[in-house]
Point group: C2
Chain length 360, copies 2
């Protein structure tokens, strides 16, 4: 069976080289005599794999020692609770920007633990852009200021980050982490579910500035207590060992591609090709407003939902899979994360051109 | 490189056949054109894998429809918080038996959310047996009654479950689930981290009687809200898709072995061989008291910690790995879960006999 081009939004396509290495090492990793998933997390063999993974994240993202790097469980949605539990403990209030379904989910979850001020929202516009924001309405005493750097469902992205002054910026970067160079020092906390650009589902990366530790609510479940997990090297309890190993393989692959700056250039190229075609096409239109277009999730549609459905069906048959849009946005979505090769995007554009000719 | 016998307490040894299947399907599962870890969790291909896994659990454990089966993240330690958050909401008090480090961790965590009554403890005896309990001290109004069915570190196990009347029995069965036939109707909740007898680390199985749903604390993080997760088929957020697929492969393997009753017989045989040798040996002694001996984790030692260290070192060289005991119990520990073949236990006993001759 031939491998397809998989445009799924996450879990998403992985580099074939990573999968080949994982297959080869499945029954026996190095001279350990066992699979990585059989290793005790308290032994040197696994600790080396874990440390290498953290080292790769630190190097690839140029994270200074003033930040802790945690690998946890529960997904970004788990962190929607962990963030207020770890940070909303001084002033007991935080500012949120509502730029999409996940941003909205995060602020609803945070309301369980304190006061949430929604300082900007594009909800009324069905999130076709990230909302404009007026720094004058930011609360300078807020425990933190929350954004979603890239909105997977609508295909939008912050092109300019808000300046929140001394208020720590907390950002969900699940769908564009490692796809572009982030200046980590702009953030108090940057977190992400792994299943788009880091590795398989089941790992959550939390990068937290050390001065923000030490103030968890007494109600914080201990597996999500960043302060405790930092002290215990993310091994307060058994980590998702095999998924972390797979993240490490993906990060090594990214390093071999030249790192984040190099992949960012390719990501700009891939998304530009697709948006240029959308802007020229008489049949297809982009959904996200140009000012907020994502490089990772490109949303588009025709004027006819039935034609959209036909497109999804025919694309799947042609080996261009999972291009159906999320029901909240409609139409189509091509998620083109780091592991999607340029050839995949070219194939998709060619297929769209052919489809347009056949359906004028 | 030859595979070793791996006696690790968890993550632990897996059936080679499972690893072979996973390696073969790594780049392409069936006719999907992709790895299982690349599949969207919202598609039919992955839903089929997930449903089959739940079906296997229900069949193998003979779980009636009056129980929900959830697959979550965060480990058993995450559930130490989730249990009081989901259940300690009526009377706001629960009874706990303190039979080991994890039982103790569970009750300390629960104290964040309500009143914990420790109704029996063997902590003062360094947990060499499960404590005796007097049903007269049980609180008949408690929201639940908590035990750990098998204590991984000390190698102890409940041979007789407490009768808690109408109070729901909540049990952490992480280290002996699927190793013996449990009558699930004795339990309100049975839960387990996957990394011993179910699959790789990163999945938490929660089996909950349906009448116990619907009463979560408003402070419950939504990914651990059993009621919500039950409504959404454990897919409120992205599940650890690949780890769940691996659990499914392990469960299929268990079914091929004849199921839980058949593996229980083998587990009795394996542990009996080892305990009989310990009881006869002039050098080695079992640590757990006979009345509470575990079939999954067999703890033992010589009279000399230096000899213990030598044993661990020489065993490792001989391909009998991870027999060092947990520091809280000392000595050695052989974890002999379902996937440890009889031959592995025979090899270990033979090595112990030889070691005894050499170190009289």
């Amino acid at each position: 069976m031939k491998r397809v081009y998989n445009f799924a939004a996450g879990p998403a396509t992985m580099p074939p080289k990573v999968l080949e290495t994982a297959a080869n090492e499945m029954l026996c990793f190095g001279d350990s005599g066992m699979s990585v998933m059989e290793m005790t997390h308290r032994g040197k063999a696994y600790q080396d794999i874990f440390d290498e993974t953290i080292h790769l994240i630190r190097n690839l993202m140029q994270i200074p020692d003033s930040y802790e790097i945690l690998l946890l469980q529960g997904g970004a949605t788990g962190q929607f609770a962990a963030i207020p539990l770890n940070l909303m403990t001084d002033y007991a209030s935080a500012d949120y920007i509502d730029s999409g379904n996940f941003a909205h989910g995060a602020l609803v979850e945070a309301q369980k633990y304190g006061t949430v001020r929604v300082v900007a929202s594009s909800r009324e516009e069905n999130y076709v852009r990230v909302p404009e924001f007026d720094p004058a309405v930011f609360d300078p005493k807020a425990d933190y200021f929350y954004i979603t750097t890239n909105n997977t469902i609508y295909g939008t992205r912050y092109h300019i980050l808000p300046d929140t002054g001394s208020v720590p910026l907390v950002a969900d970067a699940s769908s564009n982490i490692l796809s572009e160079v982030f200046d980590i020092t702009r953030f108090g906390v940057l977190f992400a579910g792994a299943q788009k650009n880091i590795g398989p589902a089941g790992v959550t990366l939390v990068i937290v500035r050390k001065d923000l530790l030490g103030r968890p609510s007494p109600l914080t479940p201990k597996v999500w207590d960043w302060t405790l997990q930092a002290k215990q090297g993310s091994m307060l309890n058994t980590p998702p060992t095999y998924a972390i190993y797979l993240c490490g393989l993906c990060l090594k692959w990214l390093e071999e591609q030249g790192g984040v700056a190099a992949i960012e250039k390719i990501n700009i190229e891939k998304s530009k090709m697709l948006y240029e075609f959308l802007d020229e096409s008489a049949l297809f239109n982009g959904i996200a407003q140009p000012i907020s277009r994502s490089r990772m999730n490109v949303t588009f549609r025709t004027k006819d939902p039935e034609l959209d459905a036909l497109f999804v069906k025919e694309a799947t048959t042609a080996g261009l899979c999972n291009v159906k849009g999320h029901r909240a946005a409609g139409g189509m979505r091509a998620s083109i994360y780091n592991a999607m090769p340029v050839e995949g995007v070219i194939s998709l554009i060619q297929f769209m051109k052919d489809f347009e000719v056949r359906n004028k």
